[in-house]
């Protein structure tokens, strides 16, 4: 299976905000944030269609999310996971002694994980931490 290297960033989306305020334990939150937005070119490199589950891995962790087409692109070389536990499973905790983890600009590897499920927020955090 193909695997690609991209630079991962995250941040707010209006869907993330609405879903967060509707309840982080709800599936809607997972649907809003358990995603990876990629340019069309990246889908070609991965050899998959949009809306396929992928495994994203960094030096700091691994998470399964659904790869979808970039809604605010194109952004060549960049992948986007909305702010939330899915993105935070991957980001660089190094703060360079400023207190601020390096939330944006994490090198990640994406490979196809069609048969794996995207966990909801509570299940994800429980699995990772408890």
């Amino acid at each position: 299976m193909a695997a690609i290297q991209i630079n991962l960033i995250s941040g707010r989306t209006i869907q993330q905000g609405v879903a967060m305020e509707s309840g982080k334990e709800k599936p809607a939150y997972r649907d809003a944030c358990g995603i990876l937005e990629l340019d069309d070119a990246e889908f070609k490199r991965l050899g998959i269609f949009k809306n396929t589950n992928v495994r994203v891995s960094s030096e700091f962790g691994t998470v399964v999310v659904k790869a979808i087409g970039a809604t605010q692109g194109p952004h060549p070389g960049l992948g986007w996971i909305p702010m939330g536990p899915w993105a935070n499973a991957l980001v660089d905790p190094n703060t360079y002694s400023t207190g601020m983890p390096t939330f944006k600009g994490t090198p990640v590897t994406v490979d196809v994980a069609e048969n794996e499920t995207v966990l909801d927020a509570i299940a994800l955090i429980t699995e990772e931490c408890l």
């Binding site: 536990p85 905790p93 360079y96 400023t98």
Partner: protein
């Protein structure tokens, strides 16, 4: 006939819109509709009354299940945890009122806690930069009334602060900006072609993580010095053009967000953006405003400022306040194993901290005070649901430009539920009893 409450303040983001109107049922108990709010703000009001909402504290049992306890029991557990710990962290403080923050500060002082707010993962870099170089700024109304050059750098208000552009920055017809958006040149700097960028006159789609270099290049261009052909993926011609656009305006403003605070360089990215603003004031008028996230993260920095002298990353363990992000900051404390208890109120580090930090919270005695079930409550030993500030209880909050506005109580919380402040007061009383007994 529905009852309409006017001048309601939205307790979601730092835009702190204060023109919401909320329609209530005849008995005044139920929120039917929210007018003037963005989708997120409206959801916050409407979801506050969800039928599956928790209304009593829960304590995690050995087997991982949750058991309901009384608020008094929860306060006792919390107080004991804080008093017994050698170095507890009291984190959050952003989605709550200044009065709750004030009681929290007293608890923190009594128990010798490290106290930190969500700036630590949001605009903490900004606070550090402001401490290094200051901040020439203005209230949002100044921008609405005067600004003719508006830069959004590493921020996406179309998504994160949905009413910002219509209320303050792009569309309002202000006193000296009578043509609204036509009075303004809009520049967006973002590695993505965001929905905000799509509206801009100029979009600089820079290489992610090179904000510092690009801002430095703009300073070089402002001074008319030579530049390399390309900086951060942007051609020098375009950089000179942007510098000229900014200099030629009557009032330029830079709004910035997590794109710069979270990327490599962090405080330095802001520092140099502030330096650009400072430079521009030699040619025209310029201001810079951080797009603060939580509706009252600014307030917690203010309350701590006047009580302790520092806006975040407080270490009160020695009985007096110390401050140094990198040492006294939540994520460093967690990752470096410096803590032995965690208290969270008005924030969700479980969702918004790197997982390595969340794992540490899960390993320690921990209490989460939050109206919602969240990833933080899921990993904590105790979850204390409370009334929604700004919906079920009022209180002062500070907007992203530090303007204080009093949020409103619109409906009653479910019977028997406490507010943040009431619960904190229980904890404070219990802490004092425990310390008195010791």
């Amino acid at each position: 006939m529905a009852k309409i409450v006017t001048d309601v303040v939205c307790p979601f983001c730092g835009t702190l819109c204060d023109d919401l109107e909320v329609a209530l049922s005849d008995d005044g108990k139920e929120i039917l509709e929210v007018y003037n709010a963005c989708a997120i703000g409206a959801t916050k009001f409407l979801h506050s009354q969800a039928s599956d909402r928790l209304t009593r504290p829960q304590k995690k049992q050995e087997d991982g299940s949750w058991k309901e306890v009384t608020y008094d029991e929860a306060a006792d557990y919390t107080a004991k945890m804080l008093v017994d710990a050698k170095k507890p962290l009291m984190y959050g403080w952003s989605s709550t009122s200044c009065s709750a923050q004030g009681v929290g500060a007293e608890i923190g002082e009594e128990v010798g806690a490290c106290m930190d707010n969500t700036a630590t993962v949001c605009h903490g870099s900004t606070l550090i930069a402001v401490q290094d170089v200051g901040v020439p700024s203005a209230t949002l109304g100044e921008i609405a009334n005067r600004a003719d050059r508006v830069v959004f750098w590493g921020c996406n208000p179309a998504h994160a602060h949905p009413r910002h552009m219509s209320r303050y920055s792009i569309f309002p017809r202000g006193f000296f900006t009578g043509k609204g958006s036509k009075s303004r040149q809009m520049i967006v700097v973002d590695p993505r072609n965001t929905d905000t960028a799509k509206m801009a006159d100029v979009h600089l789609q820079l290489e992610q993580g090179h904000d510092y270099e690009l801002l430095s290049a703009i300073r070089v261009a402002i001074r008319g010095e030579k530049l390399p052909d390309v900086v951060a993926g942007i051609s020098k011609e375009q950089i000179y053009e942007v510098a000229d656009t900014l200099k030629s305006g009557r009032f330029a403003v830079i709004f910035f967000g997590m794109g710069v605070t979270h990327s490599l360089g962090k405080n330095h990215n802001i520092d140099i953006a502030i330096s650009v603003t400072r430079d521009l004031n030699d040619y025209t008028k310029a201001a810079i405003v951080p797009m603060r996230g939580h509706y009252n993260v600014t307030g917690s920095g203010q309350v701590w400022g006047w009580q302790f002298g520092f806006p975040f990353c407080l270490d009160l363990t020695r009985g007096f306040a110390r401050y140094n992000p990198g040492d006294s900051s939540s994520n460093d404390l967690l990752v470096r194993d410096e803590l032995d208890a965690v208290f969270v109120l008005g924030s969700d580090p479980g969702a918004h901290f790197p997982v390595r930090s969340v794992k540490k919270i899960a390993q320690l005695p921990s209490v989460c005070i939050d109206p919602h079930i969240t990833p933080t409550s899921a990993v904590s030993k105790m979850h204390v649901p409370v009334a929604f500030v700004g919906v079920e209880v009022g209180g002062c909050a500070y907007r992203m430009d530090n303007v204080p506005i009093e949020t409103k109580k619109v409906v009653e919380p479910p019977e028997g539920m406490l507010t943040d402040e009431e619960f904190l007061q229980l904890v404070l009383n219990r802490v004092r009893e425990l310390k008195g007994a010791a």
